[in-house]
């Protein structure tokens, strides 16, 4: 069948819901939270209109239970999906470990939202990045299209390596902003994403198994290593699945870091998610003004694209890491990771951390331009003025 996309102007949240539908999810267990709610509202609508078959929707009483129910469903062999944000994700934390430890390919959309207090419903990446050690893969979407594509790819990657995956989109900037999304006809999604083949089953009553029993110090260690090995393997799988996706549907995701005009760049901006849309626009402007700059959008934060980062860092004099998140007592989380990756390599560009956009603070093209000016000075001086800059701070 020839690929003719179905174009629709939809929000990031609807893109997530349509993708879950097209991935033929069998169990959705979710709990409302702004700005995630319209995802589950849309999925409920699919059910109400008879647009989905064989989907069980469990309106659980908390996010902790949402993840627990997805884990139960996934253990019983179903393709399970949920969505949440900030407080909800934090509440799930214990069960995020459970999903990966039990090797269940649950897929979740997290809408990045700032953690309270003070209460905030606006964009901030700390909620998802704080879950980095839970054994979940993490994909950051730049736009609504990437939300849709990301969910469908995530199922394929997750079900190949038997680890859960989180697709992350920005509060309001994506979740509630309408944009054109090219959706894939069902038959073609089915070809790309066949039914799940579970690693184990709870329904083989002649060969019953117990999953997740007490692991003594003699055995626990090896199971942790197995998770890491699958994470490592996931890099290759992501590359292959992203390439296949590109060949079938015209949007290539084979690279874990998307490079934008970095060929001859002196320095690059690096960051996650929708933020990088703004950065790309700024790069165009800066290029027209004679700056040799580019953008490096980290698509997959877990597994972390170590190789790609090294290849990039080798060829630039500076990296400005833009973190819409913070790890208190240390620095921006992506910055921290990037520095760590490069330490044991021979690539040591000047690398500076800009803390931007926390709690939905506006971050615009002109902000990127100001940061470019600062970076230019650093590179000329061959020296950082400071390592971490709270860029917007009122002084």
């Amino acid at each position: 069948m020839e690929y003719k996309p179905i174009k629709k102007v939809i929000s990031g949240n609807y893109a997530a819901a349509y993708a879950a539908r097209d991935a033929r999810v069998e169990v959705v267990a979710a709990y409302p939270i702004t700005p995630q709610t319209s995802i589950i509202e849309k999925i409920s609508e699919f059910l109400a209109n008879g647009e989905v078959e064989n989907l069980q929707y469990v309106p659980v009483e908390s996010e902790h239970s949402a993840m627990a129910a997805c884990i139960g469903a996934s253990a019983a062999g179903a393709r399970a999906f949920t969505a949440t944000s900030a407080q909800g994700l934090a509440l799930m934390h214990e069960m995020l470990h459970w999903a990966s430890g039990a090797r269940l390919p649950v897929v979740m959309v997290n809408v990045n939202r700032a953690m309270a207090p003070p209460w905030s419903v606006w964009d901030d990446q700390t909620d998802s990045l704080a879950q980095r050690d839970t054994g979940w893969m993490q994909f950051y979407a730049e736009n609504n299209q990437e939300v849709y594509d990301g969910v469908i790819m995530a199922f394929k990657v997750a079900e190949t390596v038997n680890l859960p995956a989180m697709i992350v989109e920005s509060a309001f900037i994506l979740s509630h902003t309408y944009d054109i999304v090219e959706m894939i006809p069902q038959e073609l999604v089915d070809e790309f994403l066949p039914p799940r083949k579970p690693l184990y089953t709870l329904t083989d009553f002649d060969n019953p198994i117990a999953v997740g029993a007490l692991g003594t110090p003699a055995d626990y260690y090896e199971f942790r290593y197995k998770i890491e090995k699958s994470m490592e393997e996931a890099r290759e799988v992501i590359h292959k699945v992203g390439k296949e996706f590109g060949e079938r549907f015209g949007r290539d995701y084979s690279q874990m870091i998307e490079l934008y005009r970095t060929e001859d760049a002196d320095f690059v901006f690096m960051g996650l998610g929708s933020l990088m849309g703004t950065v790309k626009q700024a790069v165009d402007v800066l290029r027209s003004e004679g700056y040799k700059v580019g953008a490096a959008k980290v698509r997959w934060f877990r597994p972390f694209p170590k190789e790609e980062l090294y290849e990039l860092a080798k060829n630039v004099e500076g990296i400005a890491v833009l973190d819409r998140n913070f790890s208190f007592g240390q620095e921006g989380i992506l910055f921290n990771e990037a520095k760590g990756v490069l330490y044991n390599t021979d690539a040591h560009p000047l690398i500076k951390n800009y803390i931007v956009g926390l709690g939905g603070r506006d971050f615009t093209v002109s902000d990127v331009k100001k940061i470019a000016e600062n970076m230019k000075g650093i590179i000329e001086a061959k020296k950082l003025d400071r390592e971490v800059e709270w860029y917007h701070l009122k002084r």
Partner: protein, 311 residues
Amino acid sequence: MEIPENVKKRLSLPFEENFYAGHTACQGCGAALGLRYVLKAYGKKAIFTIPACCSTIIAGPWPYSAFNAPLFHTAFETTGAVISGIEAALKAKGYKVKGEDGIMVIGWAGDGGTADIGLQALSGFLERGHDGLYIMYDNEAYMNTGIQRSSSTPYGAWTTNTPGGKKHFLERRHKKKVIDIVIAHKIPYAATASVAFPEDFMKKLKKAQKIPGPSFIQLFAPCPTGWRSPTDKSIEIARLAVQTAYFPLFEYENGKYKINMPSTKKEPKPIEEFLKLQGRFKYMSKDDIEVLQKWVLHEWEELKKKAEVFG
């Protein structure tokens, strides 16, 4: 392995064993006995979910299992949610759940995992009407972590965080009536049961299988380690709990209460008979015992009234 037919006919429980010996429950453990009964009742066609509790250990360390049935281990507070998810998955995949030849989806959790930290997930499971069975095995404290009180610990009991020292600090609250909270959800079937009355328990397990929707059974399961009781007295203590009306056996079915034999038979024995076999009650003063006795009889009268009015 077979036994003569005439012998089989005389057994009051199914012959089939799906609970393997070699498990690591303490000597005389009521929870282990309870598991043996449940695994007898449903044969293999049951999927179990067990949260953090003594049964996590009883079920066997990796790579072993004491169950000849599928079992999913989960986090302490999640039993109700996980069984909801399993049931949803089975339905999405077209399996028959509950009923004569359907798959039983069973949550097996302790009193702490049910009455305390898991109460919310339990409520969700009950309220949403999933086809599953939740069994709370009640050993009246957090045993797995070394005998701390739960809201299901009775008045006057010693535990390691109600230790009964000079100031006579013991559990000062009455046992939480979890079954009443469950019944408030107006589910089709809820019951109490005891390891001392396995035939009654078995009947209830069969009912829970037949009746669609969520079912709940609170199973009284003595713990010699935590109750400071002789290991050979577990059944005797459980029997006395029923005979003193401390833990009466009853069913709530479609809005109707029914007190089961042998709870109906006689006037309750004095509570001391139940208490005296257990070291955990040895710090209780006469007044303490009086307080507990009054409470037991009050609750018993209330139950009888319910059975009269809604019987």
